[in-house]
């Protein structure tokens, strides 16, 4: 039988999620993948007898948790470890650890520690705003229909609700490179480079030319 309502090409995690929602809505769906295992970049492979590796992606953090719940992924076997602590190894053994708001080691002084908590608070506000955008299709800007308009309005309202100073900050910061952002907030070199890593991962740009994407 080769007759389907929809065929999804590629069993990466996005292909699988898309197919699952279609199937959940009662469609007959086929997912095809060129490789022998599904998962694409989000897969686990036994690379030598007895040893397994996350093939490409290794950290689980950006995944939209509403989907985890919606598709009952935990019921289907997904187990997550505790949130990770970031440790930046220092040659002298006094390592820098970042664990949520908590920051310790490498001689980071209370001023930078407080700056780090402030910085996280700001990032979380910005992230909340961006989540609105990630949860839907990107709105068209000119040829918009009522749905796009609604998304844009929510975004505009979200911006206004942040308060004047935050709003000003975000309109400045989206255009700035991570090198400058780090220097504006922190003095400690290892702290700056540890946070900046997330901004350069996967781009072909260096910290002095990368725009905001933490």
């Amino acid at each position: 039988m080769t007759d389907y309502d929809a065929v999804v090409i590629g069993a990466g995690h996005n292909g699988l999620i898309c197919a699952t929602y279609l199937a959940k809505a009662g469609h007959r769906v086929l997912v095809l993948d060129g490789r022998s295992e599904p998962g694409g970049c989000a897969s686990t492979r036994e690379f030598t007898a007895g040893f397994k590796v996350s093939d490409c992606a290794q950290w689980f953090s950006q995944f939209d948790r509403s989907i985890t719940k919606d598709l009952n992924l935990h019921g289907a076997g997904l187990k997550l470890s505790d949130t990770k602590t970031t440790i930046s190894l220092q040659p002298d053994g006094n390592h820098l650890t970042l664990d949520g708001d908590h920051i310790a080691g490498a001689g980071v002084d209370p001023v930078d520690q407080a700056a780090y908590r402030e910085f996280r608070k700001m990032m979380q506000r910005f992230a909340k705003l961006m989540t609105h955008l990630y949860r839907g299709r990107p709105p068209k800007l000119v040829e918009h229909n009522w749905r796009d308009r609604f998304t844009l309005m929510k975004l505009g309202l979200g911006l206004k609700m942040m308060g004047r100073e935050y709003m000003r900050d975000i309109m400045r910061i989206v255009m700035i490179n991570i090198y400058d952002v780090m220097n504006e907030h922190f003095k400690h070199d290892a702290l700056k480079s540890t946070i900046a890593l997330d901004a350069v991962t996967g781009t072909n740009m260096g910290p002095a030319v990368t725009q905001y994407r933490l």
Partner: protein, 538 residues
Amino acid sequence: MNQYDAIVIGAGHNGLTNGAYLAKAGLKVAVLERNPYIGGATVSRELHKGWYYSNCSYVSSLLRPEITRDLELPRHGLQVVPFGGGATFMRNGDHFGNYSDHDRHYRELARHSKRDANAYDRYSADTSLQTKLIRPYLLRTPPDPTSLKPKDLRDLLEFARSFMNLGEEKLLDTIKFWTASVGDYLNEYFETDVIKAHMAGSGIIGTALGVYSPGTAYVLLHHYMGDVDGNVGAWGFARGGMGAIASSLSKAFQSFGGEIICDANVDEIMVKNGSVTGVALKDGTEYRAPVVVSNLDPKRTFLDIINPSDLPKDVLKKARNFKIRGSSGKLNIALDGLPIFNGLDPKNKLMAGDLHFSDSLERQERAYDDWKAGTWSKDPYLDMMIPSLTDPTMAPPGKHMMSVFVQYAPPKVEGREWTDEDKDGFEKSVIDQISNYSPNFKDLILHCETRTPREIEAEVGLTEGNIFMGELTFDQLLFNRPFPGYAQYRGPIKGMYMCSSGTHPGGGVMAAPGANSAREILSDLKRPNTVPGEYADD
């Protein structure tokens, strides 16, 4: 009697423009200048007998025509002579010529690549769409997007509408353009190294960014949005050097009764009960006025000449974080005769244009790598011109004057101050670069004035030697320039204003910041406006 209606600190071209419009409205205005001469970075000086150097800025295009006409600058002695074209010399002995004649230019492009020749008109049309978008906003105060005041809302709406009118596709192109790197932008149109390199230069001049840094496509636009005699994108020489612009502005200012005081080094803006009362000079002299306008860059304005206790905390923080990195240097050279360039007939008109020696984006990016490593470029990007070919008054008969703008030179060398040896090394790398393409050049040099960011800062007072008074990236443009919340030319103290290139629409010899600022001051003083709006010329 040292009592005025308004005091402008700094006789740069923006300070003079600002003073002129205030004086035209009937105010008693003094412009105070630290140097013994006026003009700031818009100046001509005779540093070698018989030769006139445009020491800093050297070509004109951005100067708003509305202001030139309104202040009758031609009557006060200003004449801008357009120059056509330019060239980039290649390592293989060939060159790419940038001809102002459209058909000749097509043939030259096609000589290097047929495909690029055919892409050129599309590139021009797309870029000129962007200049059309921005030009109407040059002579206007940027609206504050966080404000609910009717004027801000109305301006924002109009701003939004001019973008919406582009249509979905062109709007997305625009967003991409304003955030892209000049390298990526050019790669979408052209395939030939030398053609891309020739055009990319305008995207890095004066910025501490490389051809592959996001935001540099806008810098390209910043160099395309001017005009000479209505010819958008064209550049010209001010007869007698750039000092002719400052001189004509000063005459306009004086014709309205304004007063210029040189050798007046301002130490502090005096503040009492939250309002400015005047300024005090380093030598103790005081000048009083209820309005004080700063023509200095935002860092100098807020961190040098205002007592920190008079400022809100957020302003101090914003001033400290303001990006104003030096990245350029300049050589002004007196020549015994005309240099010969490999492969270019000395009679070719291109000789009078802008000449370059960096024939690929890769070489330009590597020049930027040197800057990041804290040193001057060993294979620098040069914007070299011989103004005396167009304006013989710049040098004695038969002799020539050469102006070489150099990208990149760091504000500090490997973290320490520039030394004289560094300066010599910098000079040598520039002279060697030119000599590689001109066999007789070295022998013709009679005098060379070399300016690293150290000299530019010491002489003009541009912090770190940044030529635009602050990086032209989006976090510092429009309603973000100089800082969010302070982009409407008003400072945080009553009676204090800003009018420098550190405010919208930014650096270059444009006079728009000075004019826009005057308009806001006059509106606060409830005086009739004397400042022209933008022409509907596009």
